[in-house]
């Protein structure tokens, strides 16, 4: 069970919406998940089971019960006093010595000098990258006392999060939080939890081992239905019956949250990039899909090859058998690559290479003997490459677990990402992968259809990351979505028309939280569509340059700048 999807469970010690039927053993003590055997000794919590959907973050039961757990028992003056105290005793950690990336630790009144020194010493040992990630992750989950600057900054303080009560706002920028939610906590516990989170977060593999998995959400994915601006009334005004209900959103912060369909990945390391779209866009699927395919922002660069094709060429420095893989069949995204790419629709297509029923080995052996003139030599090389691939793939690639959530709920995307994970595991040099989920052209019945699509997306990504985690390769792959355009803010009947800017979702060893710059809901373009704040070529440049280490100018016209995700 995802805790985030259960905002009102009894463990919500903030107690804004207490469940009258819940059996609470004592005020502020969590009843579920199973209460700690000794609630009186909360400073030694069990280590969170990494990436388990219920345990990336510490359990509610780890938070000690105390008189201040119930804010309704405190008067506002006491809260303000306490807030001031926390402010005064916070400490900044400048992790890179340049003022970039720091965390702030607020000390609790219950902490003596010795404990404080110990906590400081322990926090200082956390590597900078992890520190940032940890701060952002804790923040994303609305838990913690750390404020990460930069990318993680926005996401730390969440008054809407089910864990808001555990947030101590030391930034002073969110009065609602700093007055209502400041609670006395055993900071030692939080420090311990923070370090656990920071150390458990995935740190990217060396650049030469990294894989980019681009999932094309075909048809035009509506950004606000995926990263829901539930804190903005304009969203609900524009969509009387197509909006995601605020109560069902999985909060990221007080403004936006994930669509409920994404519950499967809500506690994974995920990030958003908001406001991504075209410049001088058009509303044609084909035209905009082609611009994304070619990485051609305005359609005027005259590119004749796919963006992923160029990436596949650039990453293939070692002459690998195949550097680009489409698991969605043939795609223009790989057109005109120099480096070999492979396109599959179904794992069974690999049986020519891997199956050991009599006909396949005989076939493989016989084709190696072909002659046929000068061009036959080219073919012979290609067969060799294929057989190399076949030798590297485990024989069980055809054996998808059809009952797994990845396939049942992940549907065609689950199958695609299953193949992707198997081929990443085969370690044959694949670094760029294209997958596709269709059905986003929701002119009618938007709410139900989009929710279903989010469930599919969540289940497929969750299964994919789980497969890689199990193989110890979770730090290699970055999953990133794309879509030809977003959809119009104002609904049209039960559906949404073609739009412009949208939100992108990323999963993998990334700084969790919100990135980009959300399109304002009250300042639309002349078609009534969300305005672009991050041109989509900058998003692609981010994936190329910051993730794969490929210079933007070598794969994109005019070398757009990345947005600084890594």
């Amino acid at each position: 069970m995802s805790q985030i999807s259960q905002p009102n469970e009894p463990g919500d010690i903030h107690g804004e919406r207490p469940d009258p039927t819940a059996q609470m053993p004592a005020p502020g003590v969590s009843a579920q998940p199973p209460p700690p055997s000794n609630p009186a000794a909360p400073t030694t919590p069990p280590p969170p089971a990494h990436r388990d959907s219920t345990a990336v973050m510490p359990q509610p039961g780890m938070i000690p019960a105390g008189p201040s757990d119930r804010t309704d028992a405190m008067n506002s003056q006491a809260l303000a006093d306490q807030a001031a105290h926390y402010q005064a005793s916070s400490e900044c950690f400048d992790c890179d010595g340049h003022g970039n990336g720091y965390g702030e630790l607020a000390y609790g009144t219950a902490m003596d000098d010795k404990a404080r020194a110990e906590a400081r010493a322990r926090v200082q040992k956390v590597p900078r990258r992890r520190f940032l990630k940890g701060a952002a992750a804790v923040g994303t989950l609305g838990y913690g006392v750390f404020r990460g600057s930069g990318a993680g900054d926005k996401s730390l303080i969440s008054s809407q999060s089910p864990f808001a009560s555990k947030v101590v706002d030391v930034s002073g920028t969110n009065p609602a939080v700093s007055t209502a939610n400041v609670v006395t906590q055993n900071v030692e516990t939080v420090v311990t939890d923070f370090i656990e989170v920071a150390n458990e977060l995935l740190v990217p593999a060396p650049v030469e081992q990294r894989v980019l998995v681009l999932i094309e959400l075909a048809g035009g994915n509506d950004g606000p239905s995926m990263i829901v601006p539930y804190g903005d009334g304009a969203y609900y005004d524009a969509r009387p019956n197509t909006a995601v209900e605020a109560e069902s959103v999985l909060p990221i912060d007080s403004q936006v949250g994930l669509a409920p369909g994404l519950a499967a990945i809500a506690n994974r390391q995920i990030a958003t990039v908001e406001g991504v779209g075209p410049v001088e866009g058009v509303l044609s699927h084909f035209e905009m899909a082609e611009r994304w395919e070619r990485g051609d922002l305005t359609g005027a660069a005259g590119e004749r090859s796919g963006f992923l094709a160029r990436l596949a060429d650039r990453v293939n420095t070692g002459g690998s058998s195949v550097s680009g893989l489409s698991v969605a069949g043939h795609t223009p995204r790989f057109y005109n690559s120099e480096s070999p790419t492979l396109s599959l629709n179904h794992p069974s297509q690999l049986r020519v290479l891997t199956n050991d029923d009599w006909i396949y080995p005989l076939y493989r052996s016989a084709v190696r003997g072909f002659g046929g003139g000068p061009m036959a030599a080219t073919m012979s090389e290609s067969w060799d490459r294929l057989f190399d691939i076949g030798d590297s793939i485990s024989g069980n690639i055809g054996e998808m677990d059809g009952d797994s959530a990845m396939i049942q709920q992940g549907r065609q995307l689950g199958r695609q990402l299953f193949m992707a994970a198997e081929l990443i595991k085969a370690d044959i040099g694949i670094k760029v992968i294209h997958a596709q989920l269709g059905g986003f052209d929701t002119h009618e019945g938007h709410r139900g259809r989009h929710n279903q699509l989010m469930e599919t997306l969540g289940a497929a990504i969750n299964g994919f990351m789980g497969m890689l985690d199990a193989a110890g390769l979770g730090n290699r792959a970055l999953v990133a979505t794309s879509s030809e355009f977003g959809r119009r803010l104002k609904q049209n009947g039960s559906g949404l028309d073609h739009g412009a800017a949208s939100s992108m979702l990323l999963a993998g060893p990334i700084v969790p939280g919100r990135h980009g710059d959300p399109s304002p809901l009250t300042d639309l373009d002349r078609n009534g569509n969300l305005k672009t704040t991050i041109s989509f070529d900058r998003y692609l440049a981010t994936l190329a340059e910051e993730w794969l280490g490929i210079e933007s100018g070598s794969v994109l016209a005019n070398g757009p700048k990345g947005i600084g995700l890594f």
């Binding site: 020519v352 016989a366 294929l386």
Partner: protein, 408 residues
């Protein structure tokens, strides 16, 4: 690697049929076997045109399937071969076109002009509804010209880069503006209100140009004739013609008033057309049509062309499909073998009682290397205890996977 002719006359006939139609079957090969070169070429070039036309409906799949049916049954097939060539040179994407009726209409236009005059064909393309919608001419007005069609006309369909300037593109976009397709009747018309009737300077001449005079002027360029003739040479012969020879051929073609049949005839009479067997790879669609021809595949399996990377009227972009050795890359081989393995040879009449010679005959393989023949013959299944049918299953798959069958 010794390529050997199993029968010299059939070998020549097979080469001619393979390269001038989308067929490989014994009947087609027999129709020109034993003829003198000039007679065979005349028979191919001057075969009566097929009067059949694709059904115009809102399902362009039906039109393409209709075409597949014609490919399998036309007496010679040069018309189909040239239709394919023109489509790859001047492609449109059916989804971008949107109105599917326009796709079949364009197919029929190309079919009618495939062996006519290049100038006429290109003029027809520029006022073709599918093309107008594909390259954004619909939105191009004198006030807000869209350069897409004008640019591709020069870059891809006529001279190629290096013979025009950006100013020429802008001038042509203005002069060619004002053409629209009616959303109800799909009729194409020129609207003077949306066009531009002022003088512009195009290729150094300032005057009032229009779409037709722009196309004419580009067709008058030797660069156009040389470039298109060179592309046809590669398509039919499989090797690249040198620049000088391209220029010579272009000038010769201009003297023929850009008539297509004489150009094809001249290329077919060249020794180089007959010299090298298997000079270039079959592209995805060429492979698919050859396979469909041999195995009598149901046109309903058209989607397999997509899996093979070349669905007609779904080009990767306006530049069309790539040519050359990428059609023999690992991905192509895997896709082709997948289709070969998906076929139930029991359903192919006589397939599982054929001798190796009959398999080769039916595949049009009258020239085959010793190595390939040995590879096909090497499987007898004795060691594995495989029965005769199983062995034949494998022999078919090997013949269809061979370089000889994957090359033109």
């Amino acid at each position: 690697m010794g390529l050997a002719e199993r029968d010299p006359e059939k070998a020549k006939a097979a080469q001619l049929i393979r390269r001038t139609s989308m067929r490989v079957d014994p009947e087609a090969i027999a129709s020109v076997a034993g003829l003198e070169r000039a007679d065979a070429v005349q028979r191919i070039v001057n075969a009566p045109a097929d009067a059949g036309r694709a059904p115009v409906s809102d399902k362009s799949d039906e039109a393409i399937k209709w075409w597949l049916g014609r490919i399998a049954n036309q007496p010679t097939g040069l018309q189909d071969r040239m239709m394919f060539f023109w489509h790859t040179l001047i492609p449109t994407h059916r989804y971008a076109v949107g109105w599917q009726e326009l796709v079949a209409t364009q197919m029929n236009m190309v079919r009618e002009n495939a062996l006519g005059n290049f100038r006429t064909l290109l003029q027809a393309f520029m006022v073709d509804g599918a093309m107008i919608r594909y390259l954004n001419a619909q939105q191009s007005t004198g006030k807000r010209p869209n350069e897409n069609l004008a640019r591709e006309l020069m870059e891809l369909f006529t001279t190629g880069v290096g013979f025009y300037s950006e100013k020429d593109v802008k001038a042509a976009a203005l002069a060619m503006s004002g053409w629209t397709v009616d959303k109800d009747s799909y009729a194409v018309s020129y609207d003077p209100e949306r066009g531009y009737a002022e003088p512009v300077t195009f290729f150094g001449q300032e005057k009032v140009w229009d779409l037709s005079s722009i196309v004419d002027h580009l067709c008058d360029q030797t660069a156009t004739a040389s470039r298109i003739a060179g592309k046809l040479w590669y398509h039919l012969v499989g090797s690249e013609l040198g620049d000088e020879e391209k220029a010579t051929l272009g000038i010769w073609w201009q003297e023929q008033n850009l008539e297509i049949k004489p150009l094809v005839g001249k290329i077919l009479m060249d020794d180089r057309f007959w010299a090298d067997h298997y000079a270039r790879p079959r592209t995805g669609f060429e492979y698919y049509t050859a396979l469909a021809n041999v195995l009598k595949l149901d046109p309903e399996k058209l989607w397999q062309a997509k899996n093979l990377g070349q669905m007609p009227w779904e080009p990767p972009n306006v530049g069309g499909w790539p040519v050359g050795s990428r059609w023999l890359n690992p991905d192509s081989l895997l896709r082709r073998s997948e289709v070969i393995f998906s076929v139930d040879y029991k359903q192919v009449p006589g397939a599982l009682s054929a001798s190796v010679d009959e398999i080769l005959d039916r595949c049009g393989l009258w020239v085959i290397s010793d190595e390939t023949l040995a590879a096909i013959n090497s499987v007898d299944g004795k060691e594995e205890g495989i029965g005769a049918e199983g062995v034949l299953n494998l022999k078919w798959r090997l013949a269809l996977s061979s370089p000889e069958f994957q090359l033109q």
